[in-house]
């Protein structure tokens, strides 16, 4: 079975929000749209978004690190939001594992959003139905597009290629290889939701060098320290 998903590389995400805006741009006029805003130019603007980039600081000054953290629906393999839906509006596609909402069946009771530990579902204030990341379902399944464009808008927009898209059940896909070789992990594994989306951790390249590997104790060019004086037998004194 295919399970499409995103693999997000926290090591290269620069927090530019290009995925956020491209997501909104594509989806507001697509299958999942409109994603309306309320008071967009006023003091208290708000609106529907499927994708957000958050920023965290890890550690204590001066040993801190900034982590930009894109967050959208993780398309869980055991989605807790789907079985709780009373109308069957929430479903997981059999053919590619994408979790979707049928906007014509949803009654806006918000129960699925309570049942998602990640908080990635939003009630659209205009249509009053639950919306969420569709993995750009209308784009990735569009056979009229060339293969290279059959990817979610956020993936195509990312300037640092921090977002990989692919089938995480296919061991040879770019996404699976990245998860396997670069330490891909799931969020909140304690709930057994088995998210399909994975995150790649921040990485640092360090060479391990010990002090004595940098400085020879008997460096003949060393001007500061006298050469160790020979005491007792040396190799020259040994007769063969």
């Amino acid at each position: 079975m295919t399970q499409l998903a995103l693999v997000i590389d926290l090591n290269v995400c620069v927090g530019c929000h290009a995925c956020v805006t491209s997501c909104k741009e594509w989806n507001t006029s697509g299958w999942a749209g409109p994603m309306v805003d309320q008071r967009p130019y006023d003091a208290d603007p708000t609106g529907t978004f499927f994708n957000r980039v958050q920023t965290f600081e890890v550690g204590e000054y001066p040993n801190t690190e900034t982590v930009h953290f894109p967050k959208s629906c993780l398309h869980c393999e055991e989605p807790p939001c789907v079985p709780v839906c009373p109308t069957g509006a929430s479903y997981k596609r059999e053919d590619n594992g994408v979790v979707l909402v049928d906007y014509d069946k949803c009654i806006g009771c918000k129960y699925c959003s309570w049942a998602c530990p990640y908080g990635v579902r939003e009630l659209d204030e205009m249509q009053k139905v639950m919306k969420k990341c569709t993995l750009c379902i209308d784009r990735i399944t569009d056979q009229t597009k060339p293969e290279s464009e059959r990817k979610p808008a956020c993936v195509l927009a990312c300037p640092t290629s921090a977002r990989l898209f692919g089938d995480v059940h296919d061991p040879d896909s770019e996404a699976s290889v990245a998860i396997r070789e670069r330490g891909g992990y799931q969020l909140m594994p304690e709930w057994g939701t088995n998210p399909a989306n994975h995150y790649l951790p921040r990485r640092k390249t360090r060479i391990q060098i010990f002090e004595d590997e940098l400085e020879r104790a008997d460096n003949p060019l060393d001007k500061e320290h006298p050469l160790p004086a020979a005491s007792g037998d040396t190799l020259d004194d040994v007769s063969f």
Partner: protein, 330 residues
Amino acid sequence: MHPAFSVIFLTTLIGAGQGMFMALVTGQVYSMANLLEAQDNVRFYAMGSLMALVLLGGGLVAAVFHLGKPSYFFTRAWRGVTQWRTSWLSRELIALPAFMLAVFLYGLVHYLGWTGPLFVIKGVIPVDASLIIGTLGVIMAVVLYVCTAMIYASLRFLQEWHSPLTVANFIFFGLASGFTLTAAFSAWSGVGLVGFYGTWAVVFTIVAAITRGFSMLRNSRIKHKSDMRSALGIRHPKITQCSMGFMGGSFNTREYFHGKSPATLEAVRLFFLICVFALPVALLAASNAMQSEYLPILAFVVQYLGLLAERWYFFAEAKHPQNLYYQTVG
């Protein structure tokens, strides 16, 4: 969680309605066993059923306002009965109308006086239509309590709710308010059952105080499974959010935060502890001593107001793990 008044009114109103119906059937069974005097079909049982039905209908109206648009009640809500295999909410949407039908039929049978025995078990227990419908109705009432409570108790990562105590609380709060209301109804209509229902109301109120006490104790010591580490997958004890990605708020900041101060929460808790438990017990005891017809009514009003506060607190005290992602506006 952000307490929604539609759900607060729904759960408290139908809880009292179910409790009242169970009180009526209990009274009927007791009078069959000659432990209580028999009551008038129309004035007591039919009117009582009507009152229970009004409460249940009020709950249903409140539930309509929980939908995205009230019009979805007519256009889409019928689909809500389709997912009963997996969804407790769907099960509730079946159990509530089914129970309302049972209450309606129970009241109708009494109103029309169809209470002649249909058959007699072992020559001592005369079974009439109202007893059959009443017994089925009581089972349905219990099923409905379980469905309503399991909507909350089944959400495993809302750890404050994920406990059998949630089910116990919904049952005993419903029974307490329902029996108190039936005591008030008896006092108002001059039926000599105030002491009987009042005693049971006090018993259920005390049991509810015990189960709610345990759940508050449990919640005060709760250790949340999710933290910033598991939310982000970064192994460091100190992770602070600089930005949640927006500044103007979103569904995430509106739906899962109650936005009230700890002092307000504490005040609400004190209010419901007094109004749900202490005052109704005192008022029912006083009414027993003074034979007042108003004190049981006052007891119900006070307890119902307290239950509204209790249900508000029930939502406010639950901490959703998604809140970990929404700590800092920026």
